[in-house]
Symmetry: C2
Subunit: 382 residues, 2 copies
Amino acid sequence: MTARIHEFLRTRDDDGPCLVVDRDVVRDNYLQFARSLPDTRVFYAVKANPAPELLALLAELGSCFDTASVQEMKLVLEAGATADRISFGNTIKKERDIARALELGVRLFAVDCEAEVEKIARAAELTGAQDIRVFCRILCDGAGAEWPLSRKFGCAPEMAVEVLEHAWRHGLDAYGVSFHVGSQQGNTQAWDQALAASAAIFRECAERGIRLSMVNLGGGFPTRYLKQIPAVEAYGQSIFEALSRHFGNRIPETIIEPGRGMVGNAGVIEAEVVLVSRKSRAEDEIRWVYLDIGKFGGLAETMDEAIRYAIRTPHDGEASTPCVLAGPTCDSADVMYERIPYDLPVSLSIGDKVLIEGTGAYTSTYAAVAFNGFPPLKSYVI
Amino acid sequence: MTARIHEFLRTRDDDGPCLVVDRDVVRDNYLQFARSLPDTRVFYAVKANPAPELLALLAELGSCFDTASVQEMKLVLEAGATADRISFGNTIKKERDIARALELGVRLFAVDCEAEVEKIARAAELTGAQDIRVFCRILCDGAGAEWPLSRKFGCAPEMAVEVLEHAWRHGLDAYGVSFHVGSQQGNTQAWDQALAASAAIFRECAERGIRLSMVNLGGGFPTRYLKQIPAVEAYGQSIFEALSRHFGNRIPETIIEPGRGMVGNAGVIEAEVVLVSRKSRAEDEIRWVYLDIGKFGGLAETMDEAIRYAIRTPHDGEASTPCVLAGPTCDSADVMYERIPYDLPVSLSIGDKVLIEGTGAYTSTYAAVAFNGFPPLKSYVI
């Protein structure tokens, strides 16, 4: 919560929940990443928050961009970055979207299977695009991460060698390896095992005559919610040590893809308490607090109570009581914290404004388009 | 899947996933409800699908409307229904939204606690609105329902009596009781217990000199996904018997709020297979199928694998294999069926179109506004 956000909210006169993101915090975060991982290029994960003002700021600072779709690429180009600073990081792409990306000048693509390589090869032939770099994503177990990591992206390391060879045989540049240690990763050592696997893939490819160049270290850099998190420097140090351990004096080119770590702590959502109630007169009956934002209004990451945001109220410091926290929709699944109730002041009342901190990432674009008739989350970048 | 939808999709030439809803099916469903529960007024749950064409059709057929927000009320009014056919069914309302509803002429409100009653009383004073009917929602255990029902809405039956008396003392019309047996309710007897509790509330209120008039039977009427479901007539019969059992010859006025049951089976989503892959060469490695729609693109009800849609492919009838089914976003949580994999034809290939049936309800409005840059689900009513 910055003084600038505080001032903006003080003078705000429109209605309904809103997200406010402070550009100064994003700038600080970018510089911190650049300083802590000095030999690594930063590819901001646009999906975390694609607000044009943030993309323009990051483009100006020299950031590159990890994009999930052609629409995101267009936003990045409109924000002033050139296509050589864009990666198409989604391993699940329509062939016609790959062709569109190539036409836009994008030359860096993620894959995790041979079928995806073949799509890129065909799109390259169609468009006549040259010098296309392909990196293969490998599976990573994600232990220590707070946002669930599934097996959705990546393949087994053994298979990655074949996928990269497949790319090479199709005239693409087998450029490297990527992995993701899991979003909101609290363990600075989490990169070690995947870097060991990456180094093995580099060796195996070299034996087949294919020289890989790059390791994409993915995202996973956390933002602070309720718990303390390690500093970015600690991640940089740990990653550098793991790189040295597994690659010796042949450390490859590296890139990172921070999303949450870049914008999470730059944003605050202001919401309103719509109702405070109990379900019965029983003494041990828990209190329910309903806000005008919930799981379908931008706080999708409370799914399975994965992300636990810090919530500030006008009554902080007063006596508190455990509450179930729920959203405003007529959907019974729109409950944010129930399994582990959230302590909130007893004096918290209908009409009070609360601040949900660390909400700069994965909120505005997650909001449902019109569920229950509620408009999507408003977003301001200041 | 109707012939009209089939024909529409055959000649469709735009790109990306889309929902197509057949008005004829919605008309049939409405008439079926009206026939099966002849003494019950139908309040369509607008949140299930607020497409203007559907609201206009239902308004013309004589339906009333259960709304979750002022925005939904406005849609209903624009569709040609009058305010006396609208219920503000959300128990979580801002006082200024209650005032807006009163100004629009709405006079029927759900509550589940005294604080909500007081908001309505204050809004009534502010606007000068008269003859405001209030019904109190009670908790219901939802056993037999497929979409998770939480304790989010409703209060204990004992407390409902106090809430209704509170309304009465504040000059509101203590109109009745509501409950919800859980969405996609497969048990036709599920209404019995809640009707017993409702009858007890009617008696208790009568002893306090308050004559309740109405029981809102809620929704819960299922649509057919993969499993057979009972016919609407069976629900009507079972509800009528339970009403007779608990209210004797003083059966109250009743209303129902079908949403899924009204529009679910009227809609089909056409999606495209973006990728089919495996994660390793292991013989028992499961196949992954990625569509261009997922949990954040409209299929939010696959959350926790709650709703299992019927999926038709161009290769149905051929040899099949269990698949993990996932969406197109760079989000590891965007996986629809994994715990219980989905059998799909071995010959299903990249670029194939699939039809996801029973998707007329709770899809279009659930779609994220722009997650990963993907546009919200397109929707056509034919």
